[in-house]
């Protein structure tokens, strides 16, 4: 798989680092990792940066992950880019809500690099 540009959206900088490490441990070749602390910051990042993959928390201040995903169809740099939600909210209702909002996959915290790989690789393969 060619090198990827990833956007990691989480209000915890520690969690952003762990997600990046998990992506690398999952064998993904990351050429660029962009970070944002909430959905609004992520939308601003996407105004000037194209990415291949977005990993996003749900519960965040200012703009949560579900609202962020709903706004992505209007963002040129996000068209066809798979979004994987990573969150502690692991209930079935949250999963359904995330997927119906446009997310391509869902990872529950705590997670292993293998779980990240299981969600991310198929999502990238199905990238429009």
């Amino acid at each position: 798989m060619s090198s990827l540009r990833a956007l990691i959206v989480d209000d915890s900088s520690v969690m952003r680092k762990i997600v990046e490490r998990s992506l690398r441990q999952a064998g993904l070749d990351l050429s660029q990792v962009l970070e944002a602390g909430n959905g609004a910051e992520a939308l601003a990042v996407l105004q000037t940066n194209a990415v291949d993959l977005i990993l996003c928390d749900i519960n965040m201040p200012v703009m949560d992950g579900l609202e962020f995903v709903k706004q992505l169809p209007g963002v040129e740099n996000a068209k066809g880019v798979p979004v994987i939600m990573i969150t502690t909210e692991g209930s079935e209702a949250h999963v359904v809500q995330a997927l119906s909002s446009g997310a391509r996959g869902y990872i529950r915290k705590p997670f292993t690099p293998d779980q990240v790989k299981t969600q991310v690789i198929p999502a990238l393969a199905g990238k429009a």
């Binding site: 915890s12 520690v14 969690m15 502690t88 692991g90 209930s91 529950r108 915290k109 705590p110």
Partner: protein
Amino acid sequence: MNTRSELLASNSRERWVTLLELATREVFQLMLGSDLASPETEAGRPQGVTSMVGLAGQLCGVLSIRCDLKAARLMTSKMLGVEVDKVGAEMSDALGEICNMVAGNFKNKISGLGDGCMLSPPTVITGSDYTTYSIADKPALETMLMFEAMPVVISLEFNA
């Protein structure tokens, strides 16, 4: 969806303590690569860092994790894959995330609670000279586990 009273009636305190321990062990194993142990002898009460996450909805209360500063720094080190002496301000963020994951993992293990209980953003207190007041109307569920031979106390105070 269960009512709060049905939820509590169907879950014994012993079962909840077991699930609390399991939820904590899983977070430490998966995110820190550490296997927590049960204390073999009576360990002193840790103090120094307290991480708390509020629960609201079908279960209202606070889940907290207490440990010594040395344990907190080592947890952060393992979580981030950095040397202990390089751990800085991110320690509070790391401890908050650990508590958040334990709370989420715990509620997801209890039928009917995953959808019916929301988590607050975590709060982390550093220091030991403080008191807390809780509106919990039940005795706290509490358990102690050992992280690298250092005690970690996991506590759930709740209102039913």
